[in-house]
Each structure stands twice: as structure tokens, then as C-alpha cells.
């Protein structure tokens, strides 16, 4: 028993590169003030990918509709700011709560069936929300998007900061939410709960037969992942002052999956690394050929899968024969 507990504790230990990553994230705010808008996008995408990692990397659920939660958080935050009160913190809590409720409701849908069933159901939920946001135009602005969202100042113990055009406040805010969410997720995956998730990912039948309640765990992790995705969506709406149908798009679900795969699944930080690489590549290729960026994205995906995606994050295996 003691050895097991020690092994688990060693697994949960803080590594040096985790601190380094944290330092780099904080330094990026100080050292790259001109790039805040891009960095803000990266951080939001990273948070979204981290939330997907919880269900894909840890629980092994292939979802094609994770944008549903991103989108609902986005619309919730935007509508709350527009109709109720413009305070970002309260809006963030609302976005997270709404996404978590939706996640809890949807989690019953992913408990049964095969990978294909889950794929279809998650895709279906995102499509339904897309249709809803499109048709309820008196509330959401329909295809034009929800405009006229004005955020209040960001209140902190050090005073209130207005969201500026350069995105300095926005990036600091996003970074803060990202770090908090990653810490929460880190605590979660290193807890006994997180370990049991990996057990049921690797062999659901065996996990069930040693007495883990598989369904309850899936419901919880799906809800948490939805909440974090909602936070990412809320950040997007709050820092850009805009929510559009695009947040529910299939494209977004596929993109976040790619981001996570680039960074590597199942160790929580894959989303962050993936988002950095993805956005920088996107910027680079878009500058060169803006309209056809998707082609290169597709080509990259095909090659990545054919070569084996686990090799991407392990360069030392590139020249070894398998």
C-alpha cells in the first residue's frame, strides 16, 4: 500500500518544466506587450484544448462537438454582460456555470454506445446549439453575431483596469483564468479520481470490475471539461466583446482536437504547447496564403496520422526503426 501511495505521489510531484512554463507565460505578458492580442488568442485556445484533454486524453472519449461548451460559454458571457451586468468576473462565473450545466446534461448522452455513437451525439449537440443560436436571432443576433457587448473594468485588489485596445488587460485576465483552470485540472488529474479516469480509459471493463463506478466518473469529468471549455468561450466573448455563430462551428471542434494532438494528449500541458505551435503556424501560413490555410492544415493532419502522432512530441524516436 505504502509503495503504491508513494508511486502516485511521485507522479503528482511538480516538475521543473512546469514552473518554467508558468514563468514563460507570465514573462510573455511583460516582455511582449505588442503581441498581446495574439497571445490572448493563444491562451484562450490553450485553455479550450486543456479542457478537451480532460475528456479525450484522460477519459478517452472522442468528441467532435466540444465547441458546444465553448460556444455556450461564449454566448452566456456575452449575453450576461449585455443584459445583466458588465462585470467580467461575475460574467465568467456565469459562463462556467452555464457550460457546466450543459455538460452535466450532455454527459448522459456519452455513456452508452460505441465511438461512432459518441461522435455523432457530441456533433449533434453542437449542431443543435448552432441552429438555436442561428434561429433565436432576437436574443443572439443570429448570423450577424451578438454585437454591442461592452465589458466593465476588471476589478482587482490592485484597482480597476479598463479593457484596452492593445489587449494588455485582456491578456492578463485570460492568463489568470488559464492558470487557475490549469491548476484546478492538475489537482483533479493527479487525485485518485484522475488516476481512476486513466484506468477506465485504458480498459473500461476491467475498471468496472474492480469496483469503479465508470458512469459517475465520466459524468463528473465531462462536466468539469465542459465548465473549463465554457470558461475559454467566456474569455473569448469578454475580451473581444463579440460572440458569433462561429463559436459553435464544426471547424472549431476539429481545430481544438488538432491543437491537442499537436501538443500531445494525456499530460494536461499538451493543449498549451499545441496552441502555441498551432497559432504561430497559422499566423505564418496565413500571411503567406490566407485563403488556403485549411489545405495545409489538412495535409498536416493526414501526414501526422500516417507517420504516427505519438512521434511528433518525441523527436528522439524519429530515426529509430519501429
Amino acid at each position: 500500500m505504502k509503495a503504491v501511495a508513494q508511486a502516485l505521489r511521485a507522479h503528482a510531484r511538480w516538475r521543473w518544466w512546469e514552473f518554467a512554463l508558468l514563468a514563460v507565460l507570465l514573462l510573455s505578458w511583460l516582455l511582449l506587450p505588442g503581441q498581446s492580442l495574439l497571445l490572448n488568442e493563444i491562451a484562450i485556445l490553450a485553455l479550450f484544448a486543456v479542457s478537451l484533454d480532460l475528456i479525450l486524453g484522460y477519459a478517452g472519449i472522442v468528441s467532435l462537438g466540444h465547441a458546444a461548451f465553448f460556444g455556450i460559454g461564449s454566448y452566456a458571457a456575452a449575453l450576461f454582460a449585455k443584459l445583466v451586468m458588465p462585470d467580467p468576473w461575475v460574467g465568467m462565473v456565469v459562463a462556467i456555470a452555464v457550460a457546466a450545466v450543459l455538460g452535466a446534461l450532455c454527459s448522459v448522452l456519452i455513456l452508452r454506445g460505441s465511438d461512432l455513437t459518441r461522435l455523432m451525439v457530441t456533433l449533434g449537440v453542437a449542431s443543435i446549439l448552432y441552429e438555436l443560436a442561428n434561429k433565436l436571432d432576437w436574443l443572439t443576433g443570429g448570423a450577424d453575431g451578438l454585437q454591442g457587448v461592452v465589458m466593465g473594468p476588471l476589478r482587482t485588489p490592485f484597482g480597476a483596469f479598463e479593457f484596452d485596445l492593445g489587449g494588455r488587460t485582456a491578456y492578463a485576465y485570460t492568463l489568470l483564468v488559464l492558470i487557475i483552470c490549469v491548476l484546478v485540472a492538475r489537482r483533479l488529474v493527479h487525485s485518485p479520481f484522475g488516476t481512476s479516469l486513466q484506468a477506465l480509459r485504458d480498459n473500461r471493463l476491467r475498471a468496472a470490475s474492480i469496483g469503479l463506478s465508470v458512469n459517475a466518473r465520466l459524468v463528473v469529468v465531462y462536466t468539469v471539461a465542459a465548465a473549463i471549455a465554457g470558461a475559454a468561450g467566456g474569455l473569448l466573448a469578454q475580451t473581444t466583446g463579440f460572440a458569433s455563430l462561429d463559436v459553435f462551428d464544426f471547424h472549431r471542434s476539429a481545430e481544438v482536437m488538432l491543437v491537442l494532438v499537436i501538443g500531445g494528449t494525456g499530460y494536461l500541458y499538451g493543449g498549451i504547447f499545441g496552441a502555441i505551435v498551432f497559432k504561430l503556424l497559422h499566423d505564418l501560413i496565413s500571411a503567406w496564403t490566407p485563403q488556403y490555410w485549411n489545405f495545409w492544415l489538412g495535409l498536416f493532419l493526414v501526414i501526422l496520422v500516417l507517420v504516427g502522432r505519438e512521434k511528433l512530441t518525441r523527436p528522439w524516436t524519429w530515426w529509430k526503426k519501429s
Binding site: G124, H251, L258, V305
Partner: protein, 287 residues
């Protein structure tokens, strides 16, 4: 009312021809191919380009759409798809999304992003009005062609040597291989035929569904609904699912246009919630 039902059936038959290849890929190789719509789009573009640029008559383009797409399928299967049969579903999903993205932007680059139109020959335009039911000639044509295809496929599957080999491979590829069947060749042929049918469906549907580079993404979910609701073990499952989907979609859009595709998605989720293996899955036939 009956006109609506008729249109729904035509739409459903079209969806069946489009999706049946996907059902085979999924049932046979357990491969989640999100790129199936790309083959349908290829068929549609073959027809459109042949008609508009070279002036080939509509009917003559249909077999060409089938053959052209089947050829693409036959090329891609051994080159790319075969490597992924045993891989996790996540890899297959990523791979086929990649193919979709490439197909969408590739067509956009080569042909342009505008909606393509075809002019049907005169004898397919217009409609018969028999008392209170209006039958569009082209829709009748689609139903006849697709029904013939469905019957032909069912016959082939049930009565020919290749059909029984195919059924054996679906049931258990390992045992089928062990009995001396060349499973790879069966996979290749089936994939090519499935792609070809998708191409034919795309060509037939260019008039009804519309054709532009985003076609594979727009209809991906419809194909997947047909397959996941219908199950992959029989032909009748996807056929009934396609008809159900076609009728529900046409009727839904007519009676409650505000809700759009909402009804279809909800119906799908409810069905999958109650019957996760599909409506018409064989008892005990799960994987």
C-alpha cells in the same frame, strides 16, 4: 402533403445512395470515414464540369461520375486508408478531417467557391400533376435510379459469390482471411464501389442539394446520421434510416421552417440515446 412525402422519399433515396458506401466502410473496416462527402463532391463536380465545360449530356455524365470517383477511391484505399484500419478511432477521425479540409480548399482553389448549377435535360424538368399530388419528374427519376441501385446492391450482396465473401469479411475479417479469402482485395473493391456510389449520389444530388466546395462539411453529419441510426450490419437499416431522415427533414423544413435542421438532430440524439447501436442493429451483433 403527399407531394411532401414524395419529395422526402426522393431526398431519402438520394441520401441512401450517398451514404451506403460509408456504411460499408464502417461496417467492414470499422473505419470512421468523415471524408465520405468528399467523394460525393468529386462525383458532383465531375458531372458539373463535364456538362458545363464539355457539353456532355447529363445522363452520360452519371456513369462517368461513378467511375471517376470509384477510381479515386481505388487509388486512395491502398495508398492511405489501408494503413489506418487498425488504428484508434481518434487517428481515423483526424485523418479523414484532414482529407476533408484538403478536398474543400483544393476544390475552392481549382474551381472556385461559387455554387455550381447544372441544367437538367428538358425531359427531366417540370412535374406531373396527378389530381392533388405533384410529382417532380427529376425526383421521380432519382427515386427510380436509387431504388434500382438499392435492389441491385441487395441482390449482389445476397446472391453473388462476391456478396457472400463480403458478408463473411464483415462478420469476421480474421476468420474470412483464414479461410483463404483475399480480404484486402474485397476491401479495395468495396471501398471503390462505395466511393463510386457516393460520387453518383453527388452527381444526382447536385441539382437538389446544391454543390459548392463546402459540400463535404455540410452533409457530413447527414451521412453519419444515416449510418449510425441505420446500423452497419444490413443494407435495409441505412435505407430505412435514410428515408426517415429524408422525410423528417423535408417535412420539418416545410412545416416549421424556423427550426431548420433542429428536428433532425434532436431525432438523431433521441434515437441514439435509446438505441446506441442504431435502430436496426441485429440483436447481439455488436462489435
Amino acid at each position: 402533403m403527399l407531394t411532401l412525402l414524395f419529395d422526402g422519399i426522393a431526398y431519402g433515396m438520394l441520401l441512401f445512395v450517398l451514404a451506403v458506401g460509408l456504411a460499408v466502410t464502417l461496417g467492414l473496416m470499422n473505419f470512421i470515414n468523415l471524408a465520405h462527402g468528399a467523394f460525393a463532391m468529386a462525383g458532383g463536380y465531375i458531372t458539373v464540369l463535364l456538362m458545363n465545360r464539355l457539353g456532355v449530356p447529363f445522363l452520360a455524365t452519371l456513369p462517368l461520375a461513378f467511375l471517376g470517383t470509384a477510381l479515386i477511391g481505388a487509388l486512395l484505399e491502398p495508398l492511405l486508408y489501408r494503413r489506418l484500419y487498425g488504428k484508434p478511432h481518434l487517428d481515423q477521425v483526424l485523418f479523414s478531417i484532414g482529407i476533408v479540409f484538403m478536398a474543400v480548399t483544393g476544390v475552392d482553389f481549382i474551381i472556385g467557391s461559387t455554387q455550381q448549377n447544372i441544367t437538367l435535360p428538358a425531359w427531366l424538368q417540370g412535374r406531373f400533376d396527378i389530381s392533388w399530388i405533384g410529382i417532380g419528374k427529376y425526383r421521380l427519376f432519382i427515386i427510380v435510379v436509387c431504388a434500382a441501385l438499392a435492389i441491385g446492391l441487395q441482390w449482389m450482396l445476397a446472391n453473388t459469390r462476391f456478396g457472400s465473401q463480403l458478408r463473411a469479411s464483415v462478420d469476421d475479417p480474421r476468420v474470412a482471411g483464414g479461410l483463404g479469402l483475399n480480404v484486402n482485395r474485397i476491401f479495395l473493391l468495396t471501398f471503390a464501389v462505395g466511393s463510386g456510389l457516393a460520387g453518383l449520389g453527388g452527381a444526382l444530388g447536385a441539382e437538389i442539394l446544391g454543390l459548392d466546395p463546402s459540400f463535404p462539411l455540410k452533409f457530413m453529419i447527414y451521412f453519419l446520421i444515416v449510418v449510425s441510426v441505420g446500423g452497419t450490419t444490413t443494407l435495409t437499416g441505412p435505407l430505412l434510416a435514410a428515408l426517415l431522415l429524408g422525410i423528417a427533414d423535408v417535412a420539418g423544413k416545410y412545416y416549421v421552417p424556423k427550426l431548420g435542421a433542429f428536428i433532425v438532430y434532436t431525432l438523431m440524439i433521441v434515437i441514439l440515446l435509446l438505441r446506441p447501436q442504431g435502430l436496426f442493429a441485429r440483436a447481439g451483433g455488436g462489435k
